[in-house]
């Protein structure tokens, strides 16, 4: 899977999450948008929803079965969810 394709999957999931959020709290579809931590507009529940949505899209669209919820990914240190770019790189390393 190309990184561009992975990024589009992440953006599609971000759009789904945005449908639940107030206008001012919506995630910008940009590579440096924070997904995790104090700078992020996603709370922990939003992050769970995003992760599950991305996993489903990867399975449905590309037949890729990965888990983004293992201990390493969910660790606050060096979390791949820091931003869209780091998550893209992380997924790319798994597929």
């Amino acid at each position: 899977m190309e990184k561009g394709e992975i990024r589009e999957v992440i953006y599609a999931s971000m759009r789904t999450i945005n449908e639940q959020k107030d206008r001012g709290d919506r995630l910008e579809l940009k590579e440096d948008t924070c997904l995790f931590g104090r700078e992020s507009k996603l709370d922990s529940l939003g992050l769970v929803n995003l992760i599950v949505d991305i996993e489903q899209r990867l399975t449905d669209g590309f037949g890729v079965e990965i888990s983004l919820t293992d201990e390493r990914a969910m660790s606050p240190e060096n979390s791949p969810f820091m931003n869209v770019k780091s998550l893209t790189d992380y997924i790319s390393s798994l597929v």
Binding site: E19, Q20, K21, L45, V48, N49, V52, D53, Q56, T69
Partner: protein
């Protein structure tokens, strides 16, 4: 941010924030502000109206629970233990009592039914065995819950299983549950929000009342003007012909729910009418249509004309046409009309129609089932009008009889339906649920009368409401509501006559009415200006001194009242 139309409290035993987000961001009418009750505090929220989440006085509530959480014995069923059904149903009844108790705090309560995830196969091939199966027990529980609210006028069960089916394999995801206590996938929430919005729209009178249809390639295949009625594709041993017949059947079934059908088609009228009356496989005949405009004029103009003839508002209309250009034209010219995207594949017509979410109503009355017939009768009245001389002569020839009743248990449902659906002849456009209406009418200084109208052509049913509130020697007409079906037939004056008579019996000196304008109720103002009540011309207030007589129109007979 624009204020929302209503507030809705979401009570759940799982994380419902995603549902709340979709609900508040849906911009279709009615817009809703979501209030999420504390997580997993269902019983406390239902029992205690003083909790913080009730402070903002929500208009509606959605109470969504998981069966294993709210019905304790169901857990034993999930563990394959034998539990007496009576015990399970007793717990269901107890839960229903809590919902009923809470329902007094809001206009209406929506309760999604209980489901279990499809990966839970229960007892497999034995799962539908009465008394032991998980699926069997769950069905009984849902039915019992529904039966508890058969007589309720403000608690409605919504079919969660349909949402789960639409969402497919992502309806449930154990990860969502373990990591966020989210019981359903986002597609279930989205589908649920659509049904909740549709229900709320129906409850507040926003459901559609009229489907206007094109003919060629919509009701039948082919262009009747080219091939004649013998050559159109309809029925027979033909997959498309069958699809058109099924589509017509689905349309006809909607008329039994009170939805009217109309035709707006570019055709020669005589040719099209001949097809409708002569083709042996037409399901819809002329008497199934409340009216039609079949000519070569612009469809948008024809729709306006037809809707006006039927005394409806454009916001009540669904327009169905196979031609995307005509759809775009109507959408652009008449933004209030709902024009659904329509599939090119004729075999999808029926399913597309049945999937439309614009016809929900909180009740279906006998009047609904006979509504088309009433419009057909109205057409016959109009035909008679053309043959008799003056308006008064025509009105007298109708021999109109009116039955006046105070609000009671038997007429409450229809009266509430009329109050909440009527837009044009509506003085104040006050909306109330059946419970609110009954409570209001019960008060000592309130009076509410209903009017059932019939004439030589048939019974138009309960079509009018007038209500009076009085203090000291002065009364105020609070509601003045009349169905468009009987407008202009002196029922309006009869309603005022009744209110004045009622006011006199309360020894009042004066009654008045304040007209509250909306986008749709100008016909009401027009009537009041000619009603005989005094009007200062500026502040929309009309009044009547009760020392003066208000005559009953001579073309009207009130049943049970002696003639003067």
């Amino acid at each position: 941010m624009a204020p929302k139309d209503f507030k809705c409290l979401l009570v759940a035993d799982f994380t419902i924030d995603g549902f709340a987000g979709y609900l508040k961001n849906d911009e279709d009418f009615p817009t809703v502000e979501s209030i999420v009750a504390p997580f997993d505090q269902v019983v406390q929220v239902l029992m205690d109206g003083d909790l913080e989440c009730w402070k903002s006085k929500p208009d509606f509530a959605v109470v969504w629970t998981r069966p294993e959480s709210i019905i304790r014995s169901f857990n034993q069923v999930l563990d394959y233990e034998a539990v007496p059904m009576a015990q399970i149903l007793k717990e269901v009844d107890e839960y229903a009592s809590l919902l009923a108790m809470m329902s007094g705090r809001v206009k209406s309560v929506l309760v999604p039914t209980w489901v279990s995830p499809p990966y839970h196969r229960g007892l497999g091939m034995l799962d539908l065995k009465t008394g032991i199966g998980v699926a069997s027990t769950l069905m009984r529980m849902n039915l019992r819950l529904a039966e508890n609210f058969d007589e309720s006028s403000n608690i409605y069960l919504l079919d969660t299983q349909r949402w789960v089916s639409v969402a497919g394999k992502h309806a449930f995801n154990p990860k969502l549950w373990y990591m966020g206590k989210v019981a359903f996938g986002s597609d279930v929430f989205k589908e649920g929000v659509r049904d909740v919005k549709s229900a709320l729209s129906g409850i507040v009178g926003g459901s559609k009342k009229l489907i206007i249809l094109d003919l060629d390639d919509t009701l039948w295949g082919g262009v009747v003007g080219d091939v004649g009625w013998e050559g159109i594709r309809l029925g027979g041993h033909d997959h498309l012909g069958e699809a058109y017949v099924d589509f017509q059947r689905a349309l006809k079934s909607l008329t039994k729910r009170g939805i009217l059908l109309g035709i707006v088609s570019k055709n020669e009228e005589a040719v099209a009418i001949e097809a409708i009356t002569s083709h042996p496989e037409m399901v819809l005949r002329l008497d199934d249509f409340a009216g039609w405009r079949i000519n070569w004029q612009d469809k948008a103009l024809n729709i306006v004309d037809l809707v006006s003839e039927l005394n409806l508002g454009l916001q009540s209309v669904v327009f169905i046409d196979d031609n995307p250009v005509e759809r775009a034209r109507v959408r652009e010219a008449l933004s209030e009309v709902f024009v659904p995207e329509w599939p090119e594949d004729k075999m999808l017509y029926r399913s597309t129609l049945l999937g439309l979410r614009v016809f929900d109503t909180p009740s279906i009355s006998e009047e609904d089932a006979g509504r088309t017939k009433m419009y057909v009768l109205e057409r016959q009245r109009s035909d008679l009008k053309k043959t008799v001389g003056s308006l008064d002569e025509w009105l007298r020839s109708l021999d109109t009889k009116i039955q006046v009743e105070e609000l009671n248990k038997a007429n409450l449902q229809r009266a509430a339906q009329l109050l909440n659906k009527t837009n044009q002849m509506n003085l104040t456009t006050r909306r109330m649920t059946e419970l609110e209406m009954a409570d209001w009418a019960r008060q000592d200084n309130h009076k509410l009368w209903t009017f059932r109208v019939s004439d030589n052509f048939g019974d138009s049913g309960l079509t009018g409401i007038i209500s009076l509130e009085f203090e000291g020697k002065v009364g105020r007409i609070v509601d003045f509501v009349l169905s468009c079906r009987v407008m202009g037939r002196k029922v309006e004056e009869t309603m005022l006559y009744t209110a004045i008579k009622g006011a006199k019996s309360q020894h009042l000196d004066r009654i008045y009415a304040n007209y509250i304008p909306t986008f749709r109720n100008k016909p009401c103002l027009d009537f009041w200006k000619t009603s005989g009540f005094s009007y200062n011309g500026t502040d929309s207030c009309f009044s009547w001194e009760l020392c003066d007589e208000y005559a009953l129109p001579d073309c009207i007979k009130i049943e049970g009242e002696k003639e003067a």
